[in-house]
């Protein structure tokens, strides 16, 4: 059985990786419209580099990713802290709702947010994207940070309080150092989620603020071409980097 499962493991890995490897490989292919090898080239990458529209949507995605990651981590820290520190009415409801937000399909959340924004007459653009991204990142931030906090000895905060530390001092000297790696992971996770999101952004974006994945979708709908291969390769590279970094961060903690 062991041998069987293990060979299946490698087969599945091959299934998962072959398409990605092919895309990366053929992003260096000289020919425009076929998978026959015509020699190495960097031209698709240099074309991407000079693509003004791509630069714009990448900038949009970066802005959105960083701001959503920052705010959702800050909010996540506050929410986790309150859940950890205080026992209040509705505490379980809040944690339950956060879990619902994680399991709910993207599409349902997208429609809900879109209807909300539309009925509130918010015009679609950065603001709607930002609010939507924070709301789907927040539950993950809370989960990551709460996990870390549950390992934290509550006596520590009580001791700080007894020693006369103000709330800010408690945060600055106790909470933030204790949560540091979790905060980083949360920010990284939120950034990745925001940077990858297609479904929710699709419904809450305005045409003046298109994000990178939406641009990729629009291009992919036109069919395959080596420029998208190059773009996808870069995005895959980014993912690999982020996974490696976060493994490092998590590895240090445990």
């Amino acid at each position: 059985m062991n041998r069987l499962t293990r060979s299946l493991f490698f087969l599945v890995m091959a299934f998962l990786y072959i398409p990605m490897v092919v895309v990366v490989l053929f992003s260096f292919n000289h020919s425009l419209h076929s998978l026959i090898w015509h020699g190495w080239t960097w031209q698709w990458y240099s074309k991407l580099w000079h693509d003004a529209l791509l630069a714009k949507v990448t900038w949009h995605s970066l802005c959105l990713g960083f701001s959503a990651a920052f705010i959702s981590t800050v909010l996540g820290a506050v929410v986790s802290y309150s859940l950890y520190r205080y026992r209040f009415f509705g505490r379980r409801l809040i944690s339950g709702l956060l879990i619902v937000l994680i399991v709910i399909p993207d599409l349902v959340m997208a429609i809900a947010l879109m209807i909300l924004f539309r009925s509130a007459h918010v015009s679609f653009g950065f603001v709607t994207l930002f609010l939507a991204h924070v709301s789907f990142c927040l539950p993950f931030s809370v989960m990551v940070i709460s996990n870390r906090l549950s390992d934290l000895n509550p006596q520590l905060l009580l001791a700080a309080e007894d020693l006369g530390a103000s709330l800010w001092q408690q945060w600055w000297w106790v909470m933030i150092p204790a949560m540091r790696s979790a905060l980083l992971v949360s920010a990284l996770l939120s950034f990745m989620l925001s940077f990858d999101d297609v479904v929710i952004s699709f419904f809450v974006s305005g045409p003046n603020y298109v994000t990178l994945p939406l641009h990729v979708y629009a291009m992919a709908k036109l069919g395959a071409n080596p420029e998208i291969n190059a773009l996808c390769s870069l995005l895959l590279l980014l993912t690999v980097a982020v996974v490696l970094i976060s493994q490092r961060l998590l590895g240090k903690k445990t």
Partner: protein
């Protein structure tokens, strides 16, 4: 955020009197819903059949290899699913690698129509969602106590018995959450059928997208997504009834 959910429901109720819910009960939608179910079911089943042994292999892997193999799994998990679907698209094309290889080897004379078929949609869904099945099962199996195996072996259990009597019941809740992570997204990831499917491979997600983006039929889209939410609710309840009770029973 809870407000947004409420907003959805309110909008839905608001239009209760309208045609939009009656629309949903037309045979057209019933067939579509059924087809979405079929697609998701096949995808989920394939994911369980492939994902379980992989998770098992990963969990029983020697310590030295485990971190690397886990990493290999995490990369597709974290990569943009759109990018991965695009990658699959280039592979399945008439002039893609698979057809190219088969033609080169002389196995076929004409390229097989792989892309723009229902099978392509299933492959795409499995490809995207498989890591979401493997990981929860792996996390649970990884925690198993190796002394069980030894105890069972000492008692003369064969490896099939070992699997069906120990691993399978133990990991059932994880399989359940894996199913949750696969089944519902499979119905909603509208870009998989729209990039890989033929004319009639449509999922519930495509209907919603079509209604809202191209027909300006917001209430209709809201009604359809409410239907999806209801499906989610039913699913969660079934899941809870199946697994939580069992667990409680065993512990009690």
């Amino acid at each position: 955020m809870s407000v947004s959910l409420n907003g959805n429901i309110k909008e839905g109720l608001f239009h209760w009197h309208g045609l939009h819910y009656r629309e949903l009960f037309q045979p057209l939608y019933a067939r579509l819903l059924w087809q979405s179910f079929e697609f998701s079911f096949v995808t989920t089943l394939t994911c369980v059949l492939l994902g379980y042994p992989v998770a098992l292999a990963l969990a029983t892997m020697p310590k030295r290899w485990k971190p690397i193999c886990l990493m290999l799994l995490l990369i597709p998990f974290w990569s943009s699913s759109l990018v991965r679907i695009y990658a699959l698209l280039t592979l399945l094309k008439a002039k893609g690698l698979i057809n190219g290889a088969l033609l080169y080897l002389g196995i076929i004379k004409m390229p097989l129509p792989l892309l723009y078929t229902k099978v392509a949609v299933i492959i795409g869904q499995v490809y995207t969602l498989l890591p979401f099945m493997i990981l929860p099962i792996y996390v649970l199996l990884d925690e198993y106590d190796s002394s069980w195996i030894e105890a069972a072996k000492d008692l003369g259990a064969s490896s099939t018995q070992l699997f069906w009597r120990i691993f399978w019941p133990y990991s059932l809740p994880a399989v359940g959450s894996g199913v949750m992570c696969v089944f519902l997204p499979a119905m909603t990831l509208f870009y998989i059928p729209s990039l890989l499917g033929d004319r009639s491979s449509l999922m519930l997600g495509n209907v919603i997208q079509e209604q809202i983006m191209n027909q300006d039929n917001w209430p209709g889209g809201a009604a359809t997504s409410l239907l999806l939410t209801a499906a989610l609710l039913v699913f969660t309840l079934v899941y809870r009834a199946l697994f939580h009770k069992k667990r409680g029973g065993r512990l009690g």
